[in-house]
């Protein structure tokens, strides 16, 4: 499920020493291209394990997790929105049906997300 980066949303995490997707990727795969302005991309889609760390970490929701076409039909989306104590997943299947899942992620003492 290689991560794809929307060039209109990615700002290379200006102000950070490295973009958050690059910081978190367990496989050292997310990196910046040499364009101007620079954008993040996955340097080897086949090496990605689909853990979605980058997709969840992106502050601009510029990264979309796509499924390999050899495995499944187009189009379809799975979008995580990370809150303080929960993650809200939106699944849009290839027929356009939308499902939403709100899942607890951490026991917090304050600032509980509204569920």
């Amino acid at each position: 499920m290689p991560p794809k980066v929307d060039p209109l949303k990615c700002d290379a995490c200006q102000g950070e020493s490295e973009p958050l997707c690059e910081q978190v990727c367990p496989g050292n795969l997310m990196t910046l291209d040499l364009g101007e302005p620079r954008k993040a991309y996955c340097r080897d889609a086949g090496d990605c394990w689909d853990c979605m760390s980058c997709t969840k970490a992106c502050p601009r929701q510029a990264i979309q997790t796509t499924i390999q076409y050899q495995l499944a039909y187009f189009p379809g989306k799975l979008i995580p929105l990370v809150g303080t104590n929960s993650v809200t997943w939106t699944s849009i299947d290839c027929n356009g049906m939308v499902e939403r899942f709100v899942i607890r992620t951490i026991i917090g003492s304050e600032d509980d997300d509204e569920e």
Binding site: D47, D50, F101, T105
Partner: protein, 607 residues
């Protein structure tokens, strides 16, 4: 507090790379499940003055097997006691010889450790009576999408020095003892020299030795975490440590194409495996019924999948359509906590698991120590110390003690740390002075493939930019995976091996190791990481081949099928251990006795 770090611009030895010198009482290689809890426990039991450093190849909050999350903890004593857990582990692996001493030590503190993690923020599902929600006998359900950040928070709160993006390549061995380790900065390109009084290796198992089922952009759509590339085992082996059970690989039967875990279906929903004739064969076929039926040992269930498919009764599915509708409705949520890609896969293949069963398939074999496999370094008693003094292992790096999973690896990390702290208190270990020559040699080796690229580049490039006189890490990985797949019991041969196949595998893996590594070139630091991945994997391949060949029987059906020795041989009711000789590049295998501590029939569960 924390490891001491001093950056030197250029070493006096004339080496080209900037060095970072780190000194630690406790050096932890691998900031994962075991490593983070080891750091926490080392601080707790060793006090504020202890210098603790973690070397992490990626970024500690998101690295390793837990990076996608996990929806259950597969080791928890819901009923009975530690002895009953050991009895279950033996049963689940067909009465395999296991290190019962180690398993007992983990079982004794796993529940307490889980409580600790709940306190750190891990949401654990509860029953109405407030007790943890169990899934089967030995598992509990969690909302573990942040399992790794929560695990990492234990190390961070313990105030240990954490070095992210440092790939450790080799241990420093002096007079037969472990004096530390060296590695390179994946981002900064610096040479890291860590001198330590005690060293813990917990850098995961080994994926990617065999060829995966999918290629191209799905090359890494495999069950085990693909960035665990055998560094734990390779570093121990090259240091001369005694290794154990590399013939006991795991063959994971998982959801086809995504290779997501199936415990959610098998244990959580009680979904049976069904063949194309509509037979729930584990419950109906006498061959499987007499071997345990639906709750037969893992090995038998793996074998059953293989037998049914080989007999052209596939595809094999897990029937999710007959289960509790409430549980089916919760399936997607459960997978989102652990393997979100399967939810997208279902959505893009018109699959509704409440109406259509889920097809399963065999992923490529993996070498692990803490899941349902038991490869790793051999350790003395319950100390977690290897046969190399001052070198400890935990998590997947620890051999002979399977089925500890995540929760057991947390506990196991704590146990290793306490043993290290105790050893530091009892002994007066000093940081060794390492000769400049030795450090220079280690640096040359660490950056070898990168420097080779620089040299070979001047010898010429093809028009596509590839080296005329060099081999890329990817090319070597492909070659290694092809050899292992075709000659070392890959999926294409239904996990069968025999002496002839293994002889060919030995020849080619040996050839790669002895004559081809000098051509291995890395064009940048990411490529250098890939180069070390393949170097380490080749080391593990050698162990696997020699161990498989030595165990001339079939003790782990499904995982390793032998057509030349298809039966159990009581002579092999023991561990197969080995030591590597750096002078000859030979692995010598030998038997290590199994000791039964928990009485009873090893092929039966006590509860």
């Amino acid at each position: 507090m924390g490891g001491k770090s001093v950056a030197e611009p250029v070493s006096p030895g004339g080496a080209k790379t900037e060095r970072v010198n780190i000194e630690a009482d406790v050096l932890i290689i691998g900031g994962g499940t075991a490593g983070c809890l080891a750091a926490w426990e080392a601080r707790r039991s060793g006090g504020e003055g202890l210098k603790i450093a973690i070397m992490e190849k990626a970024f500690i909050r998101n690295s390793g097997c837990l990076s996608a999350g996990m929806n259950a903890l597969n080791m928890y004593i819901n009923q009975g006691g530690p002895e009953d857990f050991v009895s279950y582990v033996r049963y689940d692996l067909c009465g395999a010889p296991v290190r019962e001493d180690i398993l007992l030590s983990v079982a004794e503190e796993v529940n307490e450790t889980v409580a600790l993690m709940e306190k750190a923020g891990l949401p654990i599902k509860k029953k109405e009576d407030g007790r943890y929600l169990n899934r089967g006998k030995w598992n509990i359900e969690v909302n573990g999408s942040l399992l790794k950040p929560i695990t990492a928070s234990m190390a961070i709160e313990a105030g240990v020095e954490i070095y992210n993006r440092v790939y450790m390549t080799d241990l420093i061995i002096e007079n037969g003892q472990c004096e530390g380790a060296v590695g390179f900065g994946v981002r900064d390109g610096k040479f890291y020299v860590c001198r330590s009084k005690t060293t813990l290796i917990c850098a995961g198992g080994a994926a990617g030795l065999w060829r995966p089922n999918s290629n191209g952009d799905a090359h890494h759509r495999i069950w085990y975490f693909p960035f665990n590339t055998g560094g734990s085992y390779a570093m121990c082996k090259r240091a001369g440590a005694e290794m154990t059970s590399f013939e006991m690989r795991i063959v994971p039967i998982r959801t086809k194409d995504t290779y997501s875990p199936t415990g959610t279906l098998a244990i959580g929903m009680n979904a049976p495996m069904v063949n194309s004739l509509g037979q729930a064969f584990m419950r109906e076929d006498p061959y499987y019924v007499e071997r345990g039926g639906h709750t037969a040992p893992t090995l038998i269930r793996v074998l059953a999948f293989e037998r049914e498919t080989q007999a052209f009764r596939g595809p094999v599915v897990m029937d999710t359509t007959q289960g509790d509708p409430y549980k089916v409705a919760g399936l997607k949520s459960q997978y989102l906590d652990m393997s979100p890609c399967i939810v997208l896969y279902w959505g893009c293949n018109d699959i509704d698991p409440s109406k259509e069963p889920v097809e399963v398939d065999a992923s490529d074999p993996a070498i692990v120590g803490a899941h349902a496999g038991m490869a790793g370094a051999w350790t003395r008693g319950v100390s977690r110390e290897t046969t190399i003094p001052r070198l400890y292992v935990s998590g997947d790096a620890l051999g002979g003690a399977p089925s500890r999973f995540i929760s057991g690896s947390w506990a196991c990390g704590r146990i290793a740390a306490r043993a290290m702290v105790k050893a530091l208190q009892v002994n007066s270990y000093e940081l060794a002075e390492i000769s400049g020559d030795k450090i220079d040699r280690l640096e040359e080796r660490t950056f070898g493939p990168l420097r080779s690229y620089g040299e070979k580049q001047t010898e010429g490039l093809w028009t596509d930019g590839a080296l005329m006189n060099g081999i890329s890490p990817k090319q070597m990985e492909d070659r290694m995976q092809k050899i292992m797949e075709e000659y070392c019991g890959g999926r294409r041969n239904w996990f069968y091996v025999n002496e002839t196949y293994l002889g060919i595998a030995r020849k080619h893996i040996g050839r790669l190791r002895r004559t081809q590594l000098k051509y291995l070139c890395a064009k940048d630091l990411h490529d250098l990481q890939l180069a070390w991945d393949v170097i380490n994997r080749l080391d593990v391949c050698q162990l696997v081949i020699e161990h498989l060949d030595y165990r001339k029987e079939t003790r782990f059906p499904g995982y390793v099928n032998r057509n030349d020795y298809p039966d159990l041989d009581p002579e092999f009711d023991c561990f197969v251990n080995s030591v590597w000789d750096p002078g000859t590049d030979e692995v010598t295998c030998f038997k290590a006795p199994y000791e039964q501590l928990v009485p009873g029939d090893r092929t039966r569960e006590s509860i």
